[in-house]
Amino acid sequence: MGDLFSTLTSVSRALDAQRYGLDVAGQNIANVNTPGYARRTVDLIALAPEAPGTAGRGVDVVGVRALRDRLLETRLTNEMPAQSREAAMAEALSVVESALGKPGTSIDANLQKFFDSFAELSEMPTSASHRESVIIQGEGLAAAFSDMAGRLESARLDADRAARGTVDDINSLVERIAALNVSIGNASSRERSLHARDEQFDLVRQLSELVDVQVLDREEGGIDLSIGNGRSVVVGETAYKIQVSSTAPNGHAALSVNGANITSEIKSGRLGGFLQVRDSNIPDYMSRLDTLAYSVATEVNALHSAGFDQTGAAAGTFFTAPAAVAGAAKGMAVRPALAADSRLIAAGSTTDAGNNTTARAIAGLREATVLNGNTATLSDGWGQLVYRVGRDTKTATDERNSRQEIVRQIDALRDAVSGVSLDEEAMNLLKFQRAYEANARFFQVIDQTLEMLLQMSGR
């Protein structure tokens, strides 16, 4: 047989439960803009009756849950690295693209002026002013190649610097995630760890923008992280930071975790993007530039050395002979002795003052197919480099845009499960508020009933 006093107890528990519901709705509304937040919901169960003659013991709060979809969150951490890699590449490559100069103003323009100067020399091989002009254009061309090589090198350094900055960010995120593992492990109940899990999810999301990371759930609720080929960076409460060391000859960063070099294992995320530009794209462009510079210098020198200069002696080279293809662009220069004395320019193939065969031959290099197994001209070589840079940049930009769409859609799906809807929370407020009012009313009714009972027996 139940009694009114125990009813009072269950009513107070019911009021508590409705207040809890209001609390949860309030918490959701407060965190509507918190990144990584998953909306909470309160789980209520009805309590079974203990004594016969009672309907039940009211309601109890089982707990508060955060609504997450693990599948969608995993998808997000899988898709973000690819998108941010393309974004990082597009950023870094557009610097290279602008370094190449606007169409018609760069190395191609210098090449034209160089060939023009030799053509003009062929009209009047004895003219000192035409000879000076050849030296000026030759120096201009050499400087253009050298500057371009320098710009590519500094673009590479920029990518390296960006990669180092990214590593710093990764390391600080990894530390925070490990610290959260501790607080999740130490939490006395699951409810108390919900906010830590939210924060951890947000940190993992930020991390997946920077590098492709594999996530493993731990039994006690935290996560383990690894990058590259399964190199652990977070195991429980321990964080293994990425170490950066500078390698010769250009001081580029090499990355290692626990002593193992992982530089070539990072394929995705912003870090992967910057490393790819630094280690793959720009070196390709530099070697093409070097090949072009080497060809220009070698072809011109071959024709020039076969001629005679104005002093009647057999001519030397026009450009300083490049030692090898690598570095040919950076080291391109007009031979100093020739630059100082325009008489040393060979215009003719004989000692006759007016012989212009050599000058005509060098001017004719403009249309000569000397590259790519004799299928392309020197300016075609430049065009191919231009095409490559443009195509790589365009591909990165297009890929970034299409992957951004995918990430957006997954975000939308995740939001549909975990996001806070103000309309819904407003309805919850109403729901729990009215329930509280009704329970309070019931309390009043029981109270009045008790009073009547006491009055009855009190007389």
Binding site: G104, D116, D352, G354, R366, A426
Partner: protein, 299 residues
């Protein structure tokens, strides 16, 4: 049915604003610069093709410049050769007048002096310079072709027999430094001046046989000079024809370059207006997104 949450509304509309504003900025850039290809990545294939076109146009420009410069030089050569031919004709008539038995000794002396004068004029012609370079010394343009060391001393050709050419087109070149010896001597055993000196002596002494030989030599020199002038004339025609061709090539190259790089202005302006409208629409949509929520209806 999908739940629409607070943050997803803003995310979608901010994405739309971002996209439309980027498109608007891009279309504005095209209209103001008139260029399709501002950065290489706008059209990599087009940018590479433009490099090629520029190369071809630069070559055409250079050939045009050379053609103009060479043309003025050939005009001078032509003038000189006309003078040479005129002088040779005059020499022939003087020598003919000295042939036969009717001339007196005094007349012979006068005729031989006239011939000497013609010889000196021809010497000057062969030593013509332009901008300080000898035109008839072959490739040795700084060497005087005929330096007479003393009057009546036969100077020998000091220039080169190799000529110099200039390129006015692919596989089209014209001579710019002429082998004087080909005009003065050609395949003869003596050159023109040696023949003239012999003729002067023959006229003053009345040696008819020698005058006959001299006249024959003058005749051959006349043929050689005329042939040289014809060659120059042909080269000048080549230059004229070539300049027309170069002009056409430049025009078509410039057209192709324009197609690659320049924007169709009418289409670009239309695109810009559409992009502007889309941008305004996206902004308007953001405004309507969260104007009303359930919170407004709760008392």
């Amino acid at each position: 049915m999908m739940r629409i949450t607070f943050s997803s509304q803003y995310r979608d509309s901010s994405a739309a604003v971002e996209r439309t504003s980027e498109a608007l900025v891009e279309s504005q850039r095209r209209v103001s610069s008139g260029k399709r290809i501002e950065r290489i990545s706008d059209d990599p294939t087009g940018a590479a093709a433009a490099v090629s076109e520029r190369n071809a146009i630069a070559q055409v420009d250079q050939y045009t410049r050379t053609a103009d410069n060479v043309n003025s030089r050939l005009n001078v050569v032509d003038t000189v050769l006309s003078d040479v031919i005129e002088k040779l004709t005059a020499a022939q008539s003087v020598a003919t007048a000295g042939r036969g038995t009717t001339a007196t000794a005094a007349q012979r002396t006068a005729l031989s002096q006239e011939l000497a004068g013609i010889r000196d004029a021809l010497l000057d012609d062969m030593n013509t310079t332009l901008h300080g370079r000898y035109l008839f010394g072959g490739a040795a343009v700084t060497t005087k072709p005929y330096s007479a060391t003393a009057p009546a001393t036969v100077p020998s050709y000091a220039g080169s027999t190799a000529e110099a050419m200039a390129d006015v087109g692919n596989d089209r070149s014209v001579t710019i430094a002429f082998n004087g010896r080909a005009i003065t001597q050609g395949t003869d055993t003596q050159d023109l001046f040696q023949s003239l000196d012999a003729l002067i002596t023959a006229v003053s002494t009345g040696d008819n046989a020698a005058i006959g030989t001299g006249l024959a030599a003058l005749g051959r020199a006349f043929d050689r000079a005329t042939a040289a002038q014809t060659r120059v004339g042909t080269d000048m025609q080549v230059i004229d024809a070539q300049k027309v061709r170069l002009q056409q090539m430049k025009q078509s190259g410039t057209d192709r370059l324009s197609k690659l790089e320049d924007v169709n202005m009418a289409a670009a302006i239309t695109d810009m207006q559409q992009a502007d409208a889309a941008y305004k629409a996206a902004l308007g949509a953001v405004g309507t997104v969260s104007r009303v929520s359930l919170m407004d209806y709760l008392k």
